[in-house]
Amino acid sequence: MATSSNNSPALLDIAEVSKSFGPVAVLRSVSLQVAKGEVVTIIGPSGSGKTTLLRCVNFLESYDSGSIRIDGKEVGYRDAGTRQRRGERDLAAMRAETGMVFQSFNLFPHLTAAGNIMLGLTKVRGKSSAEARSIAEHWLGRVGLAHKADSLPAELSGGQQQRVGIARAVAMEPKILLLDEITSALDPELVGEVLAVVKSLAEDGMTMVMVTHEMAFARDASSRIVFMADGGVSAVGPPKEVLAAETTNERLRTFLARFRASHF
């Protein structure tokens, strides 16, 4: 089984994380390491815990046990093995180290495209507004929207909004970028432009964890694919291995067969 092949310590280290919503166990002792520069995609049926796991990584969701470390630092709880939640400022500072792109974009509707990107740069990174503006323009250029800097989200198409969402996340120079089904709310013809941006970030060496239903993209762009089922990691490995038709993993085979039937 191919884990992160090099020996460098994992940038993201998820160790035996479990979480329940009431009586329902959504994560069952999930462990996953992601090395710097890796692109890991998480696939699996709905309700398998993919999105919850991703949301635990930047502590939008708390978890009941286990540990999540980025660069060796515990994310949501104070270090030294306590289960004591970090304070508000501390949490905010930790979250600034991870970027997140959402299924529903979640752009701030009262701010322009540039304003959306500048908010974190000025408030969190302490940049001057001129500096933030030039960074925003740089990233808007990277996602092909230099001409839309002063447009409000409502004036942009879904694909454009999501590209602004990506620019907003990466402009903060996060150590790791989390992408939560970022093309699921898009019309099919707009998916390509968003995935192209993700691909170019991957080529730049951005570390990414991506929950997606875009199998072709997962196959082409990921270093590894994680298949989740029933709140646990059911299979993990390079795309060729995980997506192989002759897999012996029953759950995975069913998932892939159902997927092929509906998408190809």
Partner: protein, 216 residues
Amino acid sequence: MLSQTLYALPFLAEGFALTLWVSLLVVVLSLIAGVLLGVGLVYGPAPLRWAVRIFSDTIRGIPILVLMFFVYYGLPAVGLHLQSFWAAVLALTLFKTAQVVEYVRGAVASIPKGQSEAAMAIGLTFRQRLTSVIFPQAFRRFLPPWINGVTDAVKGSALVSLLGITDLMQAINQVIGRTYEAMPLYILGALIYFAVNYALSYASRRLERRFAFIRD
């Protein structure tokens, strides 16, 4: 006899000034208290939420006049003696605060959860999320009912005359007591109240248009 009324104009102007002063105090104090308690009602720990809930539901269920008499005539029983002016301001402020709490709760709760999450994800602290993301969006929804409430506060301030405070209403009644010119004076009073509230509504519509660009 009209000249008698004209003679009384400076007196009426003083009453009007007091009406504006009471209204302004009530509106500003209830805005501050209402926003703080409203935020507490949405984001606070359970005991605070219950306390605010009980406060708001109780106050809103009491006629404002009862509340005013209670503060002025009732509180001295527990050793709290307020001048009639401050008793009136306190009662009106409590009443208005309970309303502002509900406007704030409604406006803040109407902002989708994803907005807070996106703000968290870029590393904003709670206070930054409120001031930079939630409030600017909630403001648009807060404004129309709140301005309505402000005009109610101006009209409701006439109740302070019942504690013997010489506001516009009381001044009018006193002038009528001397001149027996009830009709023209009440019309004058109505016009003044109307003018203030019309100006407020106009300003509100301007403001609303100014924020209409925020769509979700």
